[in-house]
Amino acid sequence: MKFLKYRLDRCTMCGSCMAACSKAWAKKDDPALSRISVNNVTGLPDIKVCNQCGGCIAVCSSMALERDKNGVVQIRRDRCTSCLICVEFCPSASMFFSSDIPSPFKCVACGICVKACPQDVLSIVEEKEA
């Protein structure tokens, strides 16, 4: 299973990852459209990004969420009905939404943000199924 891993102790909250992500996936430099979220909480970085746990798969009654061959949870836009239940039932609060894009969006471990991060905070790791 492929997923994005982060080290909070290295993060300077520069926002490069969000800019790279939103530009790549939403064609716009806008942190609100990024699939990784970095917030400043009491002066410390708080990163929200999908760990591919699959909790959202069970909550979606239209079966719009499924794993691809790499174990990454993908949203099938042809099935998604934009209800956003997955957003609030995500255990890691890493399913995002915007009224510009009615269906939700999430990290698919593409690695674009890894290259953009100047502090080496992020990495794509592969975990073998037990």
């Binding site: 009654s61 209800c83 609030e88 039932f89 009224s99």
Partner: protein
């Protein structure tokens, strides 16, 4: 499957929705058994939107124009008018797929409106229609199919061997879908073979469950809508809409829906496990709660609790299997439960393993304790067949409970029941009676399935049963059977059930806890205020197409801290959610006062509609003795200390009195209280002492149309 034959086809240009409306409705007429089919796309005027909002409001307006004061339920001009309302079909807020069906009811002889989930309403809207009206009568069995993508309406003749609901629904999902993936794009409204004879005929609305790989059924069960459908020779209404995205309503501000909706999803995730357990268990958990408060109907509402209650503990048995389901996209409250892999032991499907929808609370109580049965497997089997044959499980259970009591009192005997021993708890014979309701060949089953009001007449006329006793114990009002809460000890709920527009269901007001447990409605004025506010507030759900459950079956954690008493019961934060969603969809701001005004218009219009049909006055707001208090000594003695106390409060010393006299005194006292309640409620609603809206009221509400004033003037 048996071949379908195309009878007629009409093309239309599917109009895109704008801010929740297409401003068009589809009107189909099946002729007078003469093949003179017609199909018209008609406009929805701005005035109709302003005065009737949508949903049930549109249904009533369209039906008013279709029928005359002399129309009966089985006349061709009676219509089934199906409408969702402006919010229906959004997916961003839980419980937004509700649809109302309005028609003249066989049970009550006046208008009825019955709601269901499932996907029909949202798909119909996305196909370009704010409402669908179907009138007329075909000469052979037909299926009406709307393809919302192609813009075509087709009418087919179809004669399947099995006309029961699960069979018809599955066949039509298969037939109209191109492949498995396409089945979710279809919704079917069907009924069953019992609806061809019974007046309890239900409408089953389908949604396709891709996880189970089968269509599920949600019922607009009450009032006999399925009976009307089959009387028109309609087997099914089908709609197909592909690629549903959740934004078809073209809302004024999607971000508002997202913000308010995700807030409620969060609340449900955080609070449901400690509040109402809707996701994990569903409404059937109420069995235990009602038992604790003596509200669970046991043996035709005689008793309120039973020692075998834990036999039907839904946690222990598991009416909820698999996973949490909603009956429309986006409902995280997910109360639509199912029992999977259930092997049927009786009837035409004996031996088959099926998925049974529910049982929900009403069914778990009606086809359970109310007929003296505490066996969940029996309840599930009865639930399956009631849905399949299309019998309203609420009326069925309350009706069977009445039959059992009549049988135990000796008012009817085995000679009349064609050999069935219909005591309370008679599992085999009661299930057999349900099966006999299906094909219309058993004269006793036919009498029973026309409802308690007809049973009282026919039992008296045909079998010589004592009419007076039956009037006291038959739990019906306006011809409709009471749903599954005992209201004896809550005066406000007497009104919640029996001062309603369409009869004693529970969608106007459920005031038992507020009144009986929390003592928040001490005076007649308080009760009248509650019987003004809650029926109007809850009616609003039926105008816009939303479900009642997410209003107060989950609450903000701080609701009871921020608000007290009745204000807390209103759940103000959720009311605010509705106002925001309404504006988010329609672009029109709405205040709490305007919300009630929208409802009040339709509430009074419906009341006047019933007046127009020869009902709708004080004399039709009947209440049976059993709803007011104990009728027989065993009921008193089950809680003698409690009832003795109530008699003392009424100014009578119970000491030394025979039980029969105590019952008589309490009944007389409560009858007087009832009349005072009726006076207070009518006054608060702006009605005359006869229960008729005044001219001033209809003028204030802006529904002073000439035809409305004409009805009021004719009735003096």
């Amino acid at each position: 499957m048996e071949e379908m034959r195309l009878l007629a086809e009409w093309k239309y240009e599917p109009k895109k929705l704008y801010r929740g409306y297409s401003k068009e409705f589809l009107s189909v007429d099946l002729g007078r058994e003469d093949g003179a089919f017609s199909c018209d796309v008609l406009p929805v005027s701005e005035d109709m939107i302003e005065k009737f909002t949508g949903g049930r409001g549109f249904g009533l307006k369209i039906l008013w124009d279709k029928v005359t004061p002399r129309s009966k339920w089985d006349d061709p001009e009676n219509a089934l008018v199906i409408s969702g309302g402006p919010i229906c079909g959004i997916t961003q807020y839980p419980g937004t797929g509700k649809t109302y069906t309005v028609f003249l009811s066989p049970l009550t002889g006046q208008t009825y409106n019955s709601n269901a989930g499932g996907y029909f309403g949202p798909f119909m809207k996305a196909s370009g229609f704010d409402a669908l009206s179907v009138s007329g009568k075909a000469s052979e069995n037909v299926v009406l199919f709307i393809d919302g993508d192609e813009g075509v309406v087709r009418l087919f003749a179809w004669e399947p061997e099995d006309r029961n609901s699960y069979t018809v629904t599955e066949a039509l999902h298969d037939h109209f879908a191109e492949n498995e993936e396409d089945k979710r794009n279809i919704s079917v409204i069907s009924s069953g073979e019992a609806a061809e004879h019974s007046w309890w005929g239900a409408l089953n609305f389908s949604f396709y469950d891709p996880r189970r790989g089968l269509p599920r059924l949600k019922q607009a069960g009450r009032g006999g809508g399925g009976t009307v459908l089959r009387d028109k020779k309609i087997l099914a209404l089908v709609v197909k809409k592909r690629n549903f995205s959740g934004t078809e309503n073209n809302p004024a501000d999607l971000s508002v829906l997202q913000k308010v909706g995700t807030k409620l999803h969060r609340e449900i995730r955080q609070n449901d496990d400690v509040q109402c357990l809707m996701r994990k268990i569903g409404t059937a958990h109420l069995n235990l709660v009602m038992n604790d408060y003596d509200i669970l109907p046991v043996n035709n509402f005689k008793f309120g609790r039973h020692e075998d209650i834990m036999e039907i503990d839904p946690v222990r048995y598991g009416f909820t299997q698999g996973y949490a389901d909603g009956c429309w996209y986006g409902c995280s409250l997910a109360c639509a439960k199912a029992v999977d892999g259930f092997e049927l032991l009786t009837g035409p499907c004996r031996g088959q393993k099926v998925t049974v929808d529910g049982p929900e609370y009403e069914t778990a109580a009606s086809l359970g304790p109310n007929v003296g049965i505490f066996d969940p497997l029996w309840t599930i089997e009865a639930n399956f067949y009631a849905d399949h044959y299309a019998l309203d499980t609420i009326s069925l259970g309350t009706g069977l409970a009445f039959v059992c009591e009549c049988f135990e009192l000796g008012l009817i005997t085995e000679e009349h029941t064609n050999g069935l021993e219909l005591n309370f708890g008679a599992k085999d014979d009661l299930l057999e009676l349900i099966h006999r309701m299906m094909d219309g060949r058993d004269d006793f089953a036919n009498v029973v399935s026309q409802g308690i009001r007809r049973m009282k007449t026919l039992f008296a006329d045909k079998y010589g049963a004592d009419r007076e006793i039956m009037e006291r114990i038959g739990m019906e009002g306006q011809g409709l059977e009471v749903s599954q809460y005992r209201c004896q000890e809550s005066m406000a709920q007497w009104g919640g059930y029996f001062l309603t527009l369409k009869g004693p269901q529970h969608d106007e007001a459920w005031l038992i806890f507020m009144d009986m447990v929390n003592k928040q409605l001490p005076t007649f004025e308080d009760k009248a205020e509650a019987l003004f506010y809650f029926p109007n507030f809850r009616l609003w759900f039926s105008l816009v197409g939303v479900c009642k459950l997410p209003w107060n079956d989950v609450e903000p954690s701080d609701n009871r801290i921020r608000y007290k008493g009745i204000e807390a019961a209103k759940v103000p934060e959720h009311v605010q959610n509705y106002l925001e969603i309404y504006e988010g969809v329609t672009g029109k701001p709405l205040s709490r006062e305007e919300m009630i005004l929208q409802s009040e218009r339709v509430y009074n219009y419906e009341r006047i509609f019933n007046l127009r049909m020869g009902k709708g006055t004080r004399q039709y707001h009947n209440i049976p003795d059993r709803a007011l208090g104990p009728v027989f000594p065993d009921e008193w003695e089950a809680r003698s200390e409690y009832f003795d106390g109530k008699l003392k409060e009424a100014g009578h010393d119970p000491e030394g009195l025979p039980v029969e006299e105590k019952i008589s005194l309490l009944q007389a006292h409560r009858r007087r209280e009832w009349e005072k309640l009726v006076d207070a409620v009518y006054e608060r609603r702006g009605w005359t002492p006869e229960g008729i809206p005044t001219i001033e009221t209809v003028k204030r509400l802006g529904i002073d149309y000439p035809e409305v004033l004409d009805v009021l003037e004719r009735r003096g």
